[in-house]
């Protein structure tokens, strides 16, 4: 039963969703895709509790056993409940509850969560620099070609490079855009996208037909 039911569900849902693509969205079958997305959101909402239980159990165990870094795990636990509990309480009790502007949740989100996310994202610039340093070393003819192409493209994308290219004869930006970005780069990207799309379709078909069962831990 543990395997048979999921195989049947996968088959029925898979075939129905393939068919939904070929029907008008205002029809019963055509609207199925949208309908199932709503179901997914509802199921996802319920499973959120699983996530909270998991994160609480893992961190609480580490705090109780005073494992290395337990203090940070304690902060994680406090943060979860400090953000969730006031948001769940009705705003009619106090303007600090709920999720409206001026609430504890809103304050924590705007002045702690958002800046921390932005900071993490901003550090990407430094990671790109270190990765580029390693990737763009001229160790072979291929990597030298990559180095030269990347340098020219990066120059083109900054105001200084734009100014530099304007001083040179010929329309270099046009050449870069036509042959490098919309030519070689686009062709390679499309090759990968077509391969990935076929791979995804093949895997979906294997799941629909019950050939692939590894997503259930079987096979």
């Amino acid at each position: 039963m543990k395997t048979t039911v999921p195989i049947i569900v996968a088959f029925v849902a898979g075939v129905a969703l393939v068919l939904a693509f070929f029907f008008d969205q205002r029809t019963l079958i055509g609207s199925l895709s949208q309908e199932l997305r709503i179901w997914l959101s509802i199921v996802g909402g319920f499973t959120l509790l699983l996530g909270v239980v998991s994160i609480t159990r893992v961190n609480f165990a580490a705090v109780r056993q005073r494992k290395e870094g337990w203090f940070y795990k304690l902060i994680t636990l406090i943060s979860i409940f400090a953000m969730a509990i006031p948001a769940l309480l009705p705003s009619s009790w106090s303007p600090l509850f709920g999720r409206q502007s001026g609430s504890i949740y809103d304050w924590l989100f705007l002045y702690m969560d958002a800046p921390m996310m932005a900071t993490m994202f901003a550090t990407l610039a430094f990671y790109i620099a270190s990765a580029a340093y390693r990737a763009f070393r001229a160790r072979s003819p291929e990597s030298t070609l990559l180095l030269v192409t990347a340098t020219v493209i990066m120059l083109w994308r900054v105001p200084m490079g734009e100014w530099l290219f304007e001083q040179l004869p010929g329309d270099i930006p046009f050449f870069l855009n036509t042959y490098i970005m919309n030519g070689i780069n686009m062709a390679v990207q499309r090759g990968i996208i077509i391969g990935a799309a076929l791979g995804a379709a093949s895997m979906s078909l294997r799941i629909i037909l019950g050939i692939e069962r590894t997503y259930m831990g079987k096979g």
Binding site: K2, I7, G44, R134, Q189, I194, L209
Partner: protein
């Protein structure tokens, strides 16, 4: 368990796939017609896609049947997948954990399902070697699926007692909070092997570079072309696009699953021929009708 009692179920599904497809079409058309008599029901402008779906399904089913009949199918080696066992072995020798991330997308993404499928294979190897495994996830649905797959892997290799529910753990719903946790884990625990399989976005380089700095051997796989350069720059092995979806079939060594891969290769060859023909016709100035054939609506 009941599955073993009805071994013909999968065979029936495959045998009656088209029958079910057309039966469902006709049934739903009638239902839809009854409700929407004055509207266009079937998207005739998507007939080209329907033909492609039917051709693709037919080819995959034919190759799967050939594989079942025992026909030898050649598959090129994928170094990233060959390296999985070696990478887990390294972690065992060093006494350090294996970190596996099945992407940061929800379970409705096929990339995440591919990541979960490969997780089952990796978990079997770590269970065999008694190597610690850690799987941080971003969505509760992925948590549930991941826990099921890892538990099943431990049961299959007879290591049920070694299974810990917290191997797969929910970390955070926010993209960069998740990244911060995983990066911190990498720097503290120094996992010997990091495996990233699934959908990744801006955090791909943050994760891969930190893993690189921590001295881990890294294997990545994603179908997102914009993230591939980052993984290639920072990881030891990278599975590109279709290789991610092929991984579970490739690692299983089951002929019936490899048949699907060969079918996919055949359709890819058809697409290459279609592109070449399109280039010739368009260059000759008579290709507009041909382009319209493939126009997506």
């Amino acid at each position: 368990m009941v599955y073993s009692l009805v071994p013909k179920l999968r065979l029936y599904i495959r045998r009656y796939y088209y029958l079910a497809l057309f039966w469902t079409i006709s049934l739903l058309s009638e239902t839809a017609l009854a409700q929407e008599t004055e509207r266009a029901i079937f998207r005739t402008d998507r007939i080209n896609a329907l033909i492609l779906v039917l051709v693709f399904s037919t080819v995959v089913i034919i190759y799967t049947r050939w594989a079942r009949q025992g026909k030898t199918l050649f598959l090129r080696k994928i170094p990233g997948l060959e390296a999985v066992e070696e990478a887990v072995g390294r972690a065992t020798e060093m006494g350090r954990p294996v970190l596996y991330i099945p992407g940061i997308s929800e379970l409705d993404e096929i990339e995440t399902i591919a990541g979960i499928s490969i997780l089952g294979r990796v978990a079997k190897i770590t269970a065999q070697y008694d190597t610690p495994l850690t799987v941080p996830v971003r969505y509760p649905l992925v948590l549930a699926a991941g826990q099921e797959v890892v538990e099943q892997a431990y049961i299959e290799v007879g290591k049920k007692d070694s299974y810990d529910k917290d191997i797969v753990r929910y970390v955070a719903g926010e993209q960069f909070a998740f990244t911060a946790h995983v990066n911190g884990y990498m720097m503290r625990e120094r996992p010997a092997t990091n495996i990233y399989m699934g959908a990744f976005f801006a955090e791909s380089l943050l994760l891969a570079e930190t893993g690189n700095a921590a001295g881990s051997i890294q294997i990545a796989g994603t179908a997102r072309p914009e993230q591939l350069p980052f993984f290639i720059a920072a990881c030891d092995y990278t599975l590109m696009g279709e290789e991610l979806y092929a991984a579970s079939a490739y690692l299983s060594h089951e002929p019936i699953m490899l048949g699907g891969l060969k079918g996919q290769d055949f359709v890819k060859m058809l697409i290459v021929f279609a592109i070449i023909l399109g280039v010739i016709l368009t260059t000759a100035g008579v290709g507009q009708w041909y382009i319209d054939l493939f126009r997506a609506v």
